[in-house]
């Protein structure tokens, strides 16, 4: 194969980011164009009718259905609280009494003198959409929601678990090659988005959940741990709605693999700032990648995006990372790009390159399809 190709994951120190924040049902938009919003601000809300509970009051009170209105203490439309007595009957000269208590807080919807049933309606359920970003409302979609825009540093991960959350960025490892282990996580990680290096262990994820960390961003994770956490194997990678207790964004891949320098440096330079993260991933044509956004409180009408390095292709001297066994995760410098096809150990014929790894003197031959270019 002549061309190497890896999913183009964006890592940018400054991007203009827009997010549509839409209600599932029509409702009220609570902000207007130009409003500044914070991640937890509710931008749109709708009220859903509360749950309905039926109670056979006539039966419980031992009365005839057509007598029900005589014994009901609450009338249709009246408010009730859970446990409150809503109907009472007395018998045997008032010595014995039966009572009916409301099963929920809400209102009395209907009282039927035909069936003797009472329908209680619970309180309306609010459904809210939050801003997610620290930014500005640039568009209002009437009765549906808004578009929030913000400048921000932007990191796309390769795989993630869990939905939207946010928290202060906290780098808990010394460098990008360090494993994220439980000892590195303490109470100070509560509500934070913690950043590890090459790998997050299962115990570290558990610790992060127990201290209440909002999210984890790290280089690699083990698929076996993922399976153990979720209780099932991910076949087709469509994630984002898992309830792990923490959102996880993996930047490089499965197994132990050092976080890319550019990514780690960008996250480290933003330590202490608020990061909005989302683990939602869909790996298929029309891909969705997990993301880390660190909003920059700049005027959205001015400012320029950071320049993206353009892909110039592999050259002698390019830094590469191997993305498949047997040298998975190793980093080195290209020393030769022979053009004829070469026979690999697997006996496949492929275009190859020669590379000198950071940790050794020896040159190794790798198929070009199995490397990705990185910034040195």
């Amino acid at each position: 194969m002549a061309h190497t190709y890896t999913p183009g994951l964006k890592v940018s120190s400054k991007e203009l980011i827009s997010k549509r924040r839409i209600l599932p049902l029509k409702g009220d938009v609570l902000v207007k164009q130009g409003d500044k919003v914070k991640p937890d601000d509710v931008v749109a809300r709708t009220l859903l009718p509360g749950p309905v509970e039926t109670m056979n009051v006539a039966n419980v009170l031992g009365i005839l259905p057509d007598e029900i209105n005589t014994y009901m203490l609450k009338k249709e439309g009246e408010e009730i609280t859970q446990g409150e007595v809503i109907g009472r009957s007395k018998s045997f000269f008032g010595l014995f009494k039966s009572e009916v208590k409301a099963k929920l807080t809400g209102t009395v919807e209907t009282i039927s003198s035909v069936t003797g049933q009472v329908l209680l309606r619970g309180e309306p359920l609010p459904v809210e959409v939050k801003a997610y970003l620290d930014g500005e409302v640039v568009e209002v979609i009437e009765a549906e929601g808004v578009v929030v825009r913000s400048w921000g540093a932007f990191v796309q991960g390769i795989f993630g678990i869990g939905g939207e959350t946010h928290g202060e960025l906290k780098i808990v490892v010394a460098d990008r090659d360090t494993r994220l282990t439980p000892e590195l996580i303490d109470e100070a990680s509560k509500d934070k988005v913690i950043v590890g290096g090459s790998f997050v262990t299962a115990d570290a994820v558990k610790k992060a959940i127990s201290v209440g960390a909002a999210g984890i961003v790290c280089g690699g994770f083990s698929d076996k741990d993922l399976r153990d956490f979720l209780g099932y194997d991910i076949g087709v990678a469509i994630t984002g709605s898992e309830d792990l207790g923490v959102t996880l964004v993996v930047t490089e891949g499965f197994g132990e693999i050092m976080m890319a320098k550019k990514t780690f440096d960008l996250l480290r330079s933003n330590e202490g700032k608020m990061a909005c993260i989302n683990g939602a991933t869909q790996i298929r044509a029309g891909v969705i990648r997990p993301e880390v956004i660190i909003p920059i409180p700049d005027d959205i009408r001015s400012g320029t995006a950071a320049k993206q390095s353009t892909d110039i292709g592999l050259e002698i001297g390019s830094y590469i990372r191997v993305i498949r066994a047997p040298y998975f995760g190793k980093i080195g410098k290209v020393t030769e790009l022979p053009s004829p096809l070469q026979k690999l150990d697997s006996e496949s014929m492929a275009r190859v390159l020669k590379v000198k790894f950071e940790d050794g003197e020896e040159e190794v031959v790798i198929p070009r399809a199995n490397v990705e270019m990185i910034e040195g």
């Binding site: 194969m1 002549a2 061309h3 190497t4 190709y5 999913p7 183009g8 994951l9 964006k10 839409i22 209600l23 599932p24 049902l25 709708t46 859903l48 359920l125 459904v127 796309q156 390769i158 795989f159 083990s222 698929d223 076996k224 399976r227 194997d233 991910i234 076949g235 087709v236 990678a237 469509i238 984002g240 709605s241 891949g253 499965f254 197994g255 939602a280 869909q282 790996i283 298929r284 044509a285 029309g286 891909v287 969705i288 892909d311 993305i323 498949r324 066994a325 047997p326 998975f328 690999l344 150990d345 697997s346 006996e347 496949s348 492929a350 790798i366 198929p367 399809a369 199995n370 990705e372």
Partner: protein, 629 residues
């Protein structure tokens, strides 16, 4: 899903006369790799000149399938010396007539870049219609992302959020028995309407929704979903409580997937303006080839095309053509799903050495997220081919259940069965009468040794009796399929001379067999005068070289007398001996004494020793590599 209808018709807008066509450029955009071939007429014959490939560019930063096409064509340009792209990166057509190797007469393409099929199903009652709908979707090879039912205990807003979040490729809506209540099913339609779902591959087409519910609600559902989705109505999949009728819904899923989802990809519209004939979905094109082979040779054929996201199986039995697309079985984007569906043990049973589970799982997931990598070490190759065997096996299982005799016949159920149902119909697929098994797709066409392709197909399909094996030389059946609609002669010539690689013949006695028993006694006379005689014991595999005639380049034939032991069958009936010509090929004749049904030894050490024995006998992998692992 099975398709017995005439294959996709392609209306060519090639204006040039067929006899004037001398240069043809054809591409196939797979989910992972885009392949380009260049065909030229030399000495009055159409021949494949070169082939180029490049990763398919459906992901960022390109998100445009034409980028991958240009990269693949550029490789063809470099290898052939023919200038095919102009300075604006457009394909040069028509060809320059001044003899300076510039341009092509025709450019055509197939596509399966849209990848797998993930859908949502909706019904009224979770355990009834919704479950029937789920079965229809699973049966059509889809992944069911979620099942929405009126009684699934979620609030409507939660259901709407779910539809929006998951971005399904398609929704199957069912509910209500015919003549029953219409309210609930219309409510679900309203939910879908409110969700206003956007298809994952952009706004160029509307989300397909299939309605297979109460026929009385058709009009109301149609009104509710009008202008919002691409609605297709089929017969109710649960017309009465005790009867399930899944076939119409399954067929609709399959057709919509093929026509609307699979070929779609970012940049697809642009590519459509480049080609001289409509872009054909890859399975449609390969299906044409398989059908043609069956017709010309008058044989029963099974073909398979294993890709990155999907595996397509084609068969012709008793003159009936069937095609299934297993939308989530493949070697890159879907590799993790193969692993999840088959299970670790089923994959690892084909691997003759120990591998750490934690490491294996990570390797599979890394292949999924970085789909264009290739096996560098022998260990990686063995593992990848083990996964391929399972993907092929699962796709074939699905094909067998769809290629049924009683097509369209509804399955009667009793009330007691209403909650637990299985699919119906007897399969048309008969491995004993099967004459030829043809493989295509990266893992089969690009296997470093052709023996590996042969064994992958034998292990996955378990052919019985006498079966010829062939493989697509360099993975170009899709392009030749679409070419056959534009220029039949060119397609046939290239297919016969450059595409189909005959591997040889597999001889596998079927029937109950036991350890230590004889399976077959054989006597084979080779054209060079050689004679091989002996007995094949249970659990043994043997292979004999039998190549090609040097002058005609056709496979050589060997005269074989085969006498199955006991009640074993080679196709003529139990215990009946056979005398016939066996066809050769790159691999030759393979005698497979492992029995049908086939069982691997349960004892681990014995299993490993048997695998190594077979792999050594058939020269699958270098012996020293197996010993080293």
């Amino acid at each position: 899903m099975a398709d017995t209808s005439a294959d996709s018709k392609v209306e060519s807008n090639v204006e040039i006369k067929p006899e004037d066509i001398e240069v043809i450029l054809a591409t196939d955009c797979g989910s992972t790799t885009t392949k380009a071939i260049l065909i030229e007429k030399t000495n009055g014959q159409y021949r494949l000149m070169v082939r180029g490939e490049a990763p398919t560019t459906v992901e960022a930063p390109f998100e445009d399938v034409t980028m991958g096409v240009l990269n693949a064509v550029q490789e063809v340009e470099e290898l052939s010396g023919r200038k095919l792209l102009d300075e604006n990166h457009r394909i040069i057509s028509p060809r320059s007539k001044s003899g300076d190797k510039v341009g092509t007469d025709v450019y055509i393409s197939t596509s399966s870049a849209g990848g797998g099929l993930q859908m949502m199903v909706a019904g009224v009652v979770r355990s009834m219609t919704a479950e029937s709908a789920e079965r229809a979707a699973l049966g059509a090879g889809a992944i069911v992302m979620d099942v929405i039912a009126s009684n699934d205990k979620r609030q409507p807003y939660q259901q709407i959020e779910r539809i929006r979040h998951l971005r399904p490729d398609m929704i199957l809506l069912s509910g209500g028995i015919d003549g029953g209540t219409t309210t609930h099913v219309v409510e679900i339609a309203e939910l879908i309407s409110a969700a206003d779902p956007r298809p994952r591959l952009g706004s160029s087409y509307q989300l397909p929704v299939i309605y297979a519910g109460n026929k009385d609600a058709r009009e109301a559902v149609g009104e509710t979903l009008a202008h919002k989705v691409d609605l297709k109505t089929v017969e109710n999949l649960r017309p009465v409580l005790e009867r399930e009728n899944l076939l119409p819904a399954r067929e609709a899923i399959h057709d919509l997937f093929l026509e609307h989802v699979m070929a779609q990809a970012p940049g697809y519209k642009k590519l459509m303006t480049w080609t001289d004939a409509p872009i054909m979905p890859t399975p449609g094109a390969v299906g044409l080839i398989i059908k043609t082979i069956s017709e010309i040779e008058d044989i029963e054929v099974v073909g398979v095309d294993i890709g990155g996201a999907t595996t397509d199986v084609f068969s012709v039995f008793q003159g009936v053509f069937n095609r299934t697309v297993s939308a989530n079985l493949g070697m890159s984007y879907s590799v993790s799903n193969v692993f999840a569906e088959a299970g670790l043990d089923n994959v690892m049973r084909w691997v003759p050495f120990h591998m750490d589970e934690r490491d294996l799982r990570n390797r599979v997931k890394n292949k999924m997220i970085r789909p264009t990598t290739i096996p560098q070490s022998m260990q990686e190759l063995v593992f990848e081919q083990a996964i391929a065997k399972e993907a092929l096996r699962l796709a074939f299982e699905q094909h067998k259940s769809f290629a049924t005799v009683l097509k369209g016949v509804q399955q009667q159920r009793t009330i007691a069965d209403a909650f637990e149902q299985k699919s119906s119909g007897e399969t048309l697929v008969n491995l004993m009468t099967l004459n030829m098994l043809i493989g295509s797709g990266g893992v089969l066409s690009h296997a470093p040794r052709r023996q590996q392709s042969a064994l992958m197909m034998i292990d996955a399909f378990l052919p019985e009796g006498i079966t010829r094996l062939a493989v697509d030389s360099i993975f170009m059946m899709p392009q030749l399929g679409v070419l056959s609609t534009v220029h039949q002669q060119a397609a046939t010539e290239v297919f016969n001379k450059d595409c189909l690689i005959h591997l040889g013949t597999c001889v596998a006695p079927a029937g109950d067999a036991k350890e230590g028993k004889e399976m077959l006694s054989y006597s084979i006379e080779f054209p060079d005068g050689r004679k091989e005689e002996g007995k094949l014991m249970y659990g043994e595999m043997k292979s004999f070289e039998l190549g090609f005639d040097e002058s005609t380049n056709l496979p050589l034939k060997a005269r074989a007398k085969l006498d199955p032991a006991g009640k074993l069958d080679l196709g003529e009936g139990s215990g009946k001996s056979i005398e016939r010509n066996l066809s050769g090929g790159v691999v030759g004749i393979i005698l497979d004494g492992r029995g049908r049904p086939f069982h691997l030894p349960t004892d681990d050490a014995k299993r490993v020793s048997k695998l190594i024995e077979w792999m050594t006998e058939l020269d699958i992998y270098p012996k020293e590599a197996l010993e080293r692992e």
